[in-house]
């Protein structure tokens, strides 16, 4: 049984076909990269998987550990172990980063039947993980994403990933807006999460991120479906010949 299975996903937005029969199979312990040009359906794919309102499948199926996600709400999917690292993390004014983290972690733990953290216990745990991501204490005292730089926002996303320990993580263009140093930190954070019990799907435009987060499989997304799959060398091919070449060939 694969960890995440997408079968023939078809989705319309405002009457237009966006996902046109997308299929993907991700097993535990694997890192998959999905690359594609603008308009190929990358964001739609992430929102669809995460269960955002308005992004319901018209046709097809999504299975997480064999269970169908289609009837599950966004928060149910999250508690079941699906994590989305947003491309543009939104600000939550007045909502303290530390409390937000704790509520998120506790809702996952509650679902798993694990003991929830109390305030002090959580702070200790959070600080430990935060230092690995170079997220300073001071940042955790601020409101979620308010006044965070682009790099800080992405580091905070990956910190959340580290604390939630999801089964499947979707990283939606996590590299956008990052300089090389930030990219390195974020990639190290992601790589530290890799284990034989979970899986990661990295959605990206550029090959550069994949130098740091080396995928097991690379898929090319074009016009709402995956047109080609291969190993890491496929990413280098994109770098060399661009998407157009690959799309025309298929």
């Amino acid at each position: 049984m694969s960890l995440l299975e997408i079968r023939n996903a078809c989705l319309k937005l405002d009457g237009k076909d966006i996902l046109k029969g997308l299929s993907l199979s991700v097993n535990e312990g694997e890192v998959h990269a999905i690359m594609g040009p603008n308009g190929s359906g990358k964001s739609t794919l992430s929102y669809m998987l995460a269960g955002r309102e308005g992004y319901d499948l018209d046709k097809g199926e999504i299975l997480l550990e064999g269970k169908s996600l289609i009837e599950m709400s966004a928060d149910e999917r999250a508690r079941s172990g699906l994590f989305l690292a947003f491309q543009y993390p939104v600000e939550l004014p007045g909502v303290g980063a530390m409390s937000f983290l704790r509520e998120a972690v506790n809702s996952r733990r509650k679902f798993l039947g694990e003991k929830e953290f109390d305030h002090l216990g959580f702070v200790k745990e959070a600080r430990k993980e935060a230092s690995k991501m170079f997220v300073k204490d001071e940042m955790l005292k601020r409101s979620v994403n308010v006044g965070f730089s682009g790099g800080e926002k992405k580091r905070f996303e990956i910190l959340q990933m580290a604390m939630l320990k999801p089964k499947i993580s979707i990283l939606d263009e996590t590299d956008s807006g990052l300089d090389v140093d930030a990219l390195k930190i974020v990639s190290e954070g992601v790589n530290a999460q890799r284990s034989k019990d979970n899986a990661i799907v990295v959605i990206t435009h550029y090959q550069r991120l994949l130098d740091y987060i080396i995928p097991d499989f690379v898929h090319i997304l074009s016009d709402g479906a995956i047109i080609k799959s291969g190993g890491p060398e496929l990413a280098l091919e994109v770098e060399k010949n661009g998407y157009a070449g690959l799309i025309n060939a298929s």
Partner: protein, 483 residues
């Protein structure tokens, strides 16, 4: 558990020595229906009041007869029949239930969400329990602590008996009997309320809460509160209770007067959750309150902090008169209106002394078909040189059938003052909700988190114990408003 005879006798004994007024003194339970001069005399007589107070009440009653109900607020309600109200009834005449099973399940659900222990739930819901003894012993230790410092905290009717000079000096000094229609009514028929006096140089060691006064759960319709703080003294007073309070009496017209002397500070916090009635607003409370603080002394400070989520119609404007030079007035408010509620609330800051300062932070949250209006007045008199005001009113709209309105009045009579006013209106964005959902929080948790974030500046002014309850309360009052 039913009270034993021994307990009842012991309570009677203690009650008498504490003079908690009318438990032991009442012959008849209620005055006849309606309001006239005889009723006013009846009330005064029942409370064994001195002549000067009876005359004061009668003056107020006569003034009330000449006044008209105010109609400028953006609220609609059916006319109140003032002759269809009992103006005096002994406390504890509420119907007694036998167990929590007889209580409205909706009410119980709210108590549970607020984390109120079962014993307290029984008390609040009017279930006959043997709780009096416990409360009396709590009140005993509490009172002793205060007496040591010379602080007076008692029912106002008790203060009239034991400290008449103080009451006479200050009652009506901040809100005169003719101030407004409801204040005049209150002055004529008030029956209950708190009296606080903090002597010079004393910092009250604990937060004074109306919860500590026995019978406060059955708070009257016309409460009158008077708080006096002498030079260099401090008190923090908590009014209200997060548990929804049902009351057959629809109209609540309280009056609260605060007086702060040189270098003193009064912090007055209110968390009110009157039963808002059903989804269509039927059976809810009309909360028409006049609250005002007089910063008499130099460098005195009065802060009003309130979280209002209940009542069918709310009409209140806690205000500050900044008389003393360099005095400070603050108003922090969160007003939630959901379903069919209507709220017209705000504040008045009157700058009279030099270099006085006022801060107003008002957060209005509207949901359902509710209408939430902020009405504020900043008045800077011509001698209030160097005064400053900062006002921020933010509105949060949930759904597209509710409304938020802001009506600021700024009257500035000296160019040397500085007045700043900022206002924002926003909706809870779908992106924000989705972000929270994607982290495993359900819609209710997400809304509560975002709304509390919106109210943070106000919530942090609340005393800790109230802040936690208030947060839960806001979450509950917005249930069903999103999704």
């Amino acid at each position: 558990m039913v009270a034993t005879q021994e307990t009842i006798d012991k309570v009677k004994e203690v009650s008498q020595s504490y003079k908690y007024g009318f438990i032991t003194n009442v012959e008849s339970e209620k005055a006849p229906l309606g309001l006239n001069e005889d009723i006013v005399r009846f009330i005064s007589q029942k409370k064994k009041e001195p002549q000067w107070l009876l005359e004061w009440r009668l003056k107020a009653y006569k003034k009330w007869l000449t006044m008209k109900q105010p109609n400028w607020a953006m609220v609609n309600f059916p006319d109140i029949n003032f002759q269809d109200i009992y103006y005096y009834s002994a406390p504890k005449t509420k119907p007694k239930l036998n167990s929590l099973d007889e209580v409205d399940p909706e009410l119980l659900r709210t108590y549970e969400k607020l984390g109120i222990p079962i014993k307290e739930q029984e008390m609040l819901a009017g279930v006959a329990v043997d709780y009096v003894f416990d409360s009396v012993s709590v009140a005993t230790t509490f009172r002793e602590k205060l007496e040591k410092e010379g602080i007076i905290f008692c029912p106002i009717s008790e203060a009239v008996q034991n400290y008449p000079e103080l009451v006479k000096k200050y009652i009506g000094s901040v809100i005169p009997i003719g101030d407004n229609y409801y204040a005049a009514l209150n002055s004529a028929v008030f029956t209950d309320g708190s009296f606080v006096y903090v002597p010079k140089g004393v910092r009250c060691p604990m937060e004074l809460s109306t919860y500590f006064r026995i019978n406060e759960q059955n708070s009257g319709q016309f409460e009158r509160t008077l708080i006096i703080v002498e030079d260099d003294a401090y008190v923090s007073y908590l009014e209200g209770c997060t548990a929804p309070q049902r009351d057959e009496n629809q109209l609540h017209a309280a009056v609260v007067e605060l007086i702060a002397m040189n270098n003193s500070e009064i912090k007055y916090s209110t968390v009110q959750n009157w039963y808002p009635g059903d989804k269509d607003g039927k059976g809810g409370i009309y909360n028409f309150v006049t609250k005002r603080g007089n910063c008499l002394g130099k460098r005195s400070k009065i802060s009003w902090t309130q979280v209002e989520t209940g009542s069918d119609i709310t009409w209140k404007y806690p205000s500050c008169i900044l008389k003393g030079d360099e005095s400070v007035g603050e108003f922090y408010s969160v007003a939630v209106a959901n379903n069919a509620q209507q709220a017209d609330t705000g504040t008045k800051m009157i700058h009279i002394g030099k270099n006085t300062k006022s801060t107003i932070i008002s957060k209005g949250i509207s949901a359902g078909k509710a209408q939430n209006t902020y009405r504020g007045q900043v008045q800077i008199q011509k001698n209030a040189l160097g005064s400053r005001n900062f006002t921020q009113c933010d509105s949060l709209l949930i759904g597209d059938k509710c409304g938020a309105h802001t009506v600021p009045y700024i009257n500035q009579y000296t160019p040397s003052a500085r007045v700043e006013h900022e206002a924002t209106t926003s909706k809870i964005s779908e992106d924000q909700l989705f972000y929270c959902l994607q982290r495993g929080l359900d819609t209710e948790q997400a809304t509560s988190l975002i709304v509390n974030g919106f109210c943070k500046e106000v919530m942090k002014e609340l005393p800790m114990e109230f802040a936690v309850e208030a947060q839960k309360l806001i979450g509950i009052s917005l249930e069903g408003s999103v999704g």
